[in-house]
Symmetry: C2
Subunit: 287 residues, 2 copies
Amino acid sequence: MDIFTTMQEERGRLSQSEIRIADIVLNDFEFAVNASIIELAGKADVSPPTVTRFCRRLGCESFSDFKVQLARTAYVGMRYLKPEPKSIAPADVAQDIITKAQNALFLLHRGLDVAAIERAANRLAGAEMIYAFGSGGNSSMIATELQNRLFRLGLRITASSDHSMQLMMAAAAKPTDVLIGSSFSGRNAELVRAFALAREAKVPTIALTQSESPVAHAAEITLPVDLPEGDNIYRPTSTRIAYLAVVDILASLVAYRIQPQATVTLRRIKQQLVTHRDGDDRQLLGD
Amino acid sequence: MDIFTTMQEERGRLSQSEIRIADIVLNDFEFAVNASIIELAGKADVSPPTVTRFCRRLGCESFSDFKVQLARTAYVGMRYLKPEPKSIAPADVAQDIITKAQNALFLLHRGLDVAAIERAANRLAGAEMIYAFGSGGNSSMIATELQNRLFRLGLRITASSDHSMQLMMAAAAKPTDVLIGSSFSGRNAELVRAFALAREAKVPTIALTQSESPVAHAAEITLPVDLPEGDNIYRPTSTRIAYLAVVDILASLVAYRIQPQATVTLRRIKQQLVTHRDGDDRQLLGD
DNA sequence: CCGCCATGATTTAAATTCTTTTCATAATTT
DNA sequence: AAATTATGAAAAGAATTTAAATCATGGCGG
């Protein structure tokens, strides 16, 4: 686990002085990362050994180890993210977008409910038919992506971004099928209705959405993607990258479920495709 | 700039001993990040002062500063990536996918041709009509995404994943239009043909693809996305995330070109949409 | 309710380890 | 061969850690 999470989790169990140290580090790690143990101790009004003990308690070998851990995580993650790039110069815009995307992935990983993903993967792997729903530019892309990834594994799946179709399909689904839906906002009322219909008919339902949202409550299994609002509002792409990563994880897990020896087999198949890349097999790889 | 790039750029100007140090750091920074100056010096068969001098030459204050810089960048970036996850346990698969995605973004940023992106953005901003082409699950998604992002800015754009349509559209395009195409492999022969047709008619062409590939050579402006093969073959998603980031950068730059005061305006518009999220405006945000 | 003891937190001081500077020597270039 | 550069040894100087001592806090018996 990363040092920031540890620090926040342990905070309750720390002593007065240690809490002071933790707060300084959390508030200003640009300082913390560059400071010596004496400087840090001075700023926290404690003695150097207290700082060392603090580091040990957090599972680090030593103070310098702590700094390395800190620097490692600070690259992305807790970095302060401005809502807008520094300037509209191409280099700044690029940096801004890349950093935000990396950050979204970092935060996603942090809040990932691995157990839920596993349950979802098991459901998908055993489904007779899968319905993937999502609307609006973003979620419809996720639905398409699910179809794109899962049909290759030999699963039966259809994606739809059409609300009316979604409702009809949900009504037609059977308990041996699975309905999986995506909503970035978590407030897609039609998707909620489709989930409700499906659950009445005992069809397993999976939602990719914000936790504690209407869509999340409507589904049986929720795969929560909770990113700070800033990311959502001003630039949907970094959020979408997080969703894509979830789909990727899900699809990979399903692949492993379906064919236990998939690792070797898949590699051989793909190696073949690459060798013949100039031939007609190209599409299978997916350009 | 990050310390790895600096190290590679400076490599030619370094002395024998310093090159040995650099190579050890580049090959095994898990070691380098945790080692003391004495350990590192020992492994490189040099004296500690040489290591200090090496760090200074790379623009660091001191050895510890060097280690911090290193840890900062090593979180993603040069990290050694196994082609397969450690195990097929959900947590390992998730970690593997997230790390690879972050890595792809890091490498993309590294190799990004900002000037080319800027030229492309200028072309797109001034186009009377834009044709976005891409085939196969991945590139067709990129084309759709381009349409999704650019139509919101008031640009006229159509996306197509149909080879025949692409050829006809390329033939019909005018010099005031722009053709933009994506190919992950860089070997999409039909796309090359479309580019050739367009260039005959003096239509500006932009390619999102591997540099030095047939598609790259066929276009006037190439936005290179060069990721190590491993990423491409076994899991297309991390590569796609890199492509999506390029689209995002491109679209943002175009937005700034079209409306200089876009920053403030866009924010206001979106704030409005968020306030009314429960109403019917939802689709505009793109769920 | 008070005071003593025990526990744990914290600091001071000492020792150790690590890093850097200085200076001398070797290698290389001009 | 002289000058320049690179390197290492030794020493000086920091920084870090360990160990011992002090302080505070809370519990428990009188």
